[in-house]
C-alpha cells in the first residue's frame, strides 16, 4: 500500500526538529532511515500527519569521544558502522553486529538511533547496547536527558521517549583492551530478525560481566546468574555456565518450545568468548 497523506519536512538543524515537534500537537513522527517506519507507513499501521526527517543533520551523523564513551550520532547508519567508519571502542563487537543486521540495502539507510527508538525486541542494537551498558541522549526543547538503554526500553516497541523528544546520540562506553565479547544468533534466514540472540561481555578491568538474551517478542533480558558466573570464571566460561544459563531461562519463564534454542544460542555466545 501507500502511506496515508502526510507532510514531510527536513529541518537543517536539531533546533528546527524540536520546533516542528513542539508545534505538531503530537501527530508528528521523527524519521531517519525509515527502515522500520517506512513499512509501517506503507501498511498504514503508522499514520502520522507529519514526518520530520533528521537524517541529514550533520551534528547527528558524526561521532566524538566524550570521556570514556563514544557519542555516536543517532543518524549514523549500520553500513557506516559495518565499514569501520566510526572509532572502534568495542574491540570489533559493533562492526560484527552491524554486518549481521538485515541486508546491505537496509543498512545503507537504517540508523542506530532509529533502531533504538523503534525498539523492536529482536533488533540487534537493542540487545547489544544493553550488553554494552550504553545510554541514549534525548533532546527536547526544555533540555537534555540521558537514559541507560536498559531503562529506556520498557517493552516491545515501547520506550520512555516522550512527544517532542528526539534521540540525538547513543553513548557507548569504551571496552578496555583486555575485554572479551561473544555473540551468536539464530534467524530463519540470513538478514531476518533473530529468533534468539545472545551477547556476552567481560571487561575485568572495569568489573563488567554481562550476558544479554534477545528474543522475538520480549525486550532483551539481562541473564543475571550467567553474568555472575561469567564474572566468577574471569571471562573464560567454565563448566558452571550451563547450569547458570538454565537457571536464568527458568527465571525468565522461557517456554519449553524455545528452551533449547535459547540455551544453545547463549552457550554458543559464551563459547565464542573463549576462542
Amino acid at each position: 500500500m501507500k502511506p496515508a497523506p502526510l507532510s514531510y519536512s527536513r529541518p537543517e538543524a536539531l533546533s528546527g526538529v524540536l520546533d516542528a515537534l513542539r508545534q505538531s500537537s503530537g501527530d508528528a513522527r521523527v524519521i531517519a532511515g525509515g527502515q522500520s517506519l517506512g513499512p509501517m507507513l506503507n501498511f498504514r499501521i503508522a499514520q502520522p500527519r507529519q514526518l520530520v526527517d533528521i537524517s541529514r543533520i550533520d551534528a547527528l551523523c558524526t561521532t566524538a569521544m566524550e570521556g570514556d564513551a563514544l557519542a555516536i550520532g543517532a543518524c549514523v547508519t549500520h553500513a557506516r558502522i559495518e565499514d569501520g567508519e566510526i572509532p572502534d571502542v568495542t574491540l570489533g563487537l559493533m562492526r560484527h553486529i552491524a554486518r549481521g543486521i538485515a541486508y546491505r540495502a537496509v543498512r545503507n539507510r537504517g540508523t542506530i538511533g532509529g533502531s533504538l527508538a523503534h525498539a523492536d525486541p529482536a533488533a540487534d542494537w537493542l540487545a547489544t547496547m544493553i550488553a554494552l551498558d550504553a545510554s541514549v541522549r534525548l533532546q527536547s526543547t526544555p533540555g537534555v536527558r540521558q537514559l541507560k538503554v536498559a531503562d529506556f526500553v520498557v517493552g516491545a516497541l515501547d520506550t520512555q521517549i516522550v512527544e517532542a523528544e528526539v534521540i540525538s546520540h547513543v553513548l557507548v562506553p569504551r571496552l578496555t583492551a583486555s575485554a572479551r565479547w561473544g555473540h551468536n544468533k539464530y534467524a530463519k534466514k540470513s538478514g531476518d530478525f533473530a529468533e534468539s540472540a545472545a551477547i556476552s561481555i567481560f571487561d575485568g578491568e572495569r568489573g563488567v560481566a554481562r550476558v544479554v538474551l534477545g528474543r522475538r517478542a520480549e525486550p532483551p533480558a539481562l541473564m543475571q546468574r550467567t553474568s555472575e558466573q561469567l564474572a566468577a570464571d574471569g571471562g573464560r566460561p567454565s563448566g558452571g555456565a550451563e547450569a547458570a544459563v538454565e537457571a536464568d531461562l527458568r527465571s525468565l519463564g522461557v517456554k519449553p518450545g524455545d528452551w533449547t534454542m535459547h540455551r544453545v544460542i547463549v552457550m554458543r555466545a559464551l563459547r565464542d568468548m573463549a576462542t
Binding site: K2, G34, S55, Y103, S190
Partner: protein, 164 residues
C-alpha cells in the same frame, strides 16, 4: 506537494510530488522508468532496490522527498558501464532470470557486492543476496552468475597489462 530535484541516471529531474510518494513510484510514474519493480512494498522482497548516491536502497520504503538532491541510478542507467555489462552477460549465460521480476533488484545488489567486496565467495554471495527474493527460486543460477563475474574480475586483476 513539494518540488524535488533528483538526478536520475545522470539527468536532473525536477518535479512537484506528493510528500508521501515513494522513490519507487517516483521513478516509475514520474520518470517513466518502469524497470524498477515494486513487489512487496514493505522492504522485504528487494525487487525495488536501486542505487541512491551509489548505494543500494529499498526505493519502496524511501520517500522521493527524502531523495531530494540525491543521485539515483535505476536498472536503465547502466549503459556503457563495464561491470554491469559483465553482469548482464553472466546472467544471460547462466540463465539467471526466469520471469525477470526480481532481476532489477538482483542486478543492483550484484553490482554493489561486486564493487564493494574484494573477497567474495559463494557463502558471502548467498548472505549478500539474502534481501532479494526470487519467486521462481532461481537462486543457484544467480549466485553462479555473480561468481562468474567475480572470477573474471579476479583473473583480470591478476593478469599483467599487455605491452601490445
Amino acid at each position: 506537494m513539494r518540488t524535488v530535484n533528483i538526478r536520475v541516471n545522470g539527468k536532473l529531474v525536477s518535479r512537484p510530488v506528493e510528500d508521501r510518494l515513494s522513490l519507487a513510484d517516483f521513478v516509475r510514474d514520474h520518470c517513466l522508468l518502469t524497470g524498477t519493480h515494486v513487489g512487496c512494498e514493505h522492504g522485504v522482497c528487494g525487487a525495488c532496490t536501486l542505487l541512491m548516491d551509489g548505494k543500494p536502497v529499498r526505493s519502496c520504503i524511501t520517500l522521493a522527498a527524502a531523495a531530494d538532491e540525491c543521485d539515483v541510478r535505476t536498472v536503465e542507467g547502466y549503459r556503457d558501464d563495464p561491470l554491469m555489462q559483465a553482469i548482464h552477460a553472466a546472467f544471460n549465460l547462466r540463465h539467471a532470470l526466469q520471469c525477470g521480476f526480481c532481476t532489477p533488484g538482483m542486478l543492483a545488489t550484484a553490482y554493489d557486492m561486486l564493487s564493494r567486496i574484494p573477497d567474495l565467495d559463494r557463502d558471502r554471495i548467498r548472505i549478500e543476496l539474502g534481501g532479494n527474493l526470487c519467486r521462481c527460486t532461481g537462486y543457484l543460477s544467480i549466485i553462479q552468475a555473480i561468481e562468474d563475474v567475480h572470477a573474471q574480475r579476479v583473473a583480470k586483476a591478476a593478469t599483467p597489462p599487455s605491452k601490445g
